[in-house]
């Protein structure tokens, strides 16, 4: 283990980690929006759209991100759809994440008993008020563990974006192994940077889960 190699490579890995984080964060926000939309379509049972959403969820959940990215990056340009690497990575991550987020939101909404809404309305609340103060907090508390698990899952999934020529952490590490043969140093940095990215999120998720639960059930 050569520590001078490690210290001199840290800036390169830092930059790569920022790329991983940027793609992850944009992808996760977009996934959450797509997921919310899909969950709404399914909860309100909107005809036609509901079937489309169901097909999308099955396609997205039953194929690997790697294959989705190959199709987006190498396949689609053949019909004139050319996207820059980063757009491809974010679209791919959103295509994958949207369905996972949709399932999480839906399980939250489904778990709130209809009596809750009826009682709130009977107490004189308007539907939006009931949604905001009665339905949403309960649904979110149920969905929270699945949502945070999805956040971690999606950041981990970004590890394959090097196949669309993005210099993320894996790309940088592979480069260092290939050109300098600093295998152990590169892998140590790779592991350390992923821990740095994901450990705080994992701990934060545990904390959020406990907090949301105690808010919802008052225990």
């Amino acid at each position: 283990m050569d520590w001078s190699v490690i210290s001199s490579s840290i800036p390169v890995y830092g930059e790569a980690a920022l790329l991983t984080l940027r793609i992850g964060v944009i992808g996760i926000i977009a996934s959450a929006l797509v997921g919310l939309l899909c969950a709404a379509v399914q909860s309100f049972r909107i005809p036609v759209l509901r079937q489309i959403v169901a097909v999308y969820i099955e396609l997205s959940r039953n194929t690997p991100l790697l294959v989705q990215l190959f199709f987006l990056y190498f396949g689609l340009p053949k019909v004139g759809v050319v996207w820059p690497s980063e757009v491809c990575a974010i679209v791919g991550l959103t295509f994958l994440g949207g369905s996972y987020m949709a399932e999480a939101f839906r399980s939250g909404l489904d778990s709130v008993h209809p009596i809750q809404l009826q009682s709130a309305l009977a107490l004189g609340m308007s539907t939006p008020t009931a949604f905001r103060h009665v339905l949403a907090p309960q649904a979110f508390a149920i969905a929270a563990p699945a949502l945070t698990a999805n956040v971690i899952f999606l950041i981990k999934e970004t590890s394959v974006v090097s196949v669309v020529a993005l210099p993320d952490l894996v790309y940088v590490a592979k480069e260092q192994i290939g050109t300098d043969y600093d295998t152990s140093e590169a892998l140590l940095l790779l592991v350390a940077f992923y821990l740095l990215l994901l450990l705080p999120i994992s701990l934060g998720a545990n904390w959020l889960e406990r907090k949301v639960r105690s808010n919802a059930f008052g225990s």
Partner: protein, 225 residues
């Protein structure tokens, strides 16, 4: 342009693609089998009350879960080979990594299904005069299996999707074969990439969809209400 789809049916192209798919499915099935065998006892160990045992299990589980599977693959494929002076094939490294990952996931499922069984199930069965062994055999085990089986089936689809990563450590599987077919026919079939990668996408779907469907059916059927 749609004529480029016919490339799939030329020569042995479709057969080669299916052969490539079989490589990653085979890696997934072997790793899954090993994960079940190792994960069952690991899950039981995880329910231990011993603090040190608990801590060690927790560290293993968290590390394996936090690291992207690709990083774990790199660790074994590049580092273990260099440090230990081994010459592992990509397939073998993949089976090792996915077994390490699968055992952690499987162990956690087993732990979850054991701890989710309410204590009163055990106590009621005892009160009815069953021996502890009979309680395990006729009450606890069936309850645990009903919860565990759908989740295990679901883990299998995750395993199959994850094994697509092996192309990145040089294993020739379906994506690599697809690449070879596209490159070899670059001039006759310029838009082959669209169709061939499209076919790979649907091949994965055809393999994984029935398994996830089965998992959902089992879960719905055995839900403890």
């Amino acid at each position: 342009m749609p004529s480029d789809l016919e490339l799939i049916f030329q020569g042995s192209n479709l057969g080669r693609l299916l052969g490539g798919l079989w490589v990653s499915v085979w890696i997934a099935l072997v790793s899954m089998g090993a994960s079940v065998v190792l994960g069952l006892p690991f899950g039981v160990v995880m329910t231990s009350k011993n603090r040190l045992v608990k801590l060690l299990c927790r560290c293993y589980l968290e590390f394996v879960r936090i690291m992207p599977q690709l990083v774990l693959l790199f660790l074994v494929f590049f580092d273990l080979t260099k440090v230990a002076g081994l010459n592992l094939s990509g397939e073998f490294a993949a089976v090792v990594v996915f077994t390490i990952w699968g055992t952690a996931e499987m162990g956690d499922l087993v732990r979850g299904s054991i701890t989710s069984i309410p204590r009163h199930q055990f106590e009621t069965a005892r009160a009815l005069g069953m021996s502890p062994a009979q309680v395990q055999r006729h009450v606890i085990l069936p309850l645990a299996v009903r919860q565990l089986l759908p989740q295990t089936v679901n883990l299998t689809t995750r395993m199959i999707k994850t094994t697509s990563l092996v192309v990145l450590i040089g294993v020739v599987e379906v994506l690599k074969v697809a690449q070879q077919i596209i490159d070899a026919n670059r001039f006759q079939y310029p838009s082959a990439a669209l169709w061939i990668y499209g076919v790979v996408f649907f091949l994965y779907f055809i393999v994984c969809f029935p398994i996830s469907w089965l998992s959902r059916r089992l879960e719905a059927r055995w839900q403890i209400s």
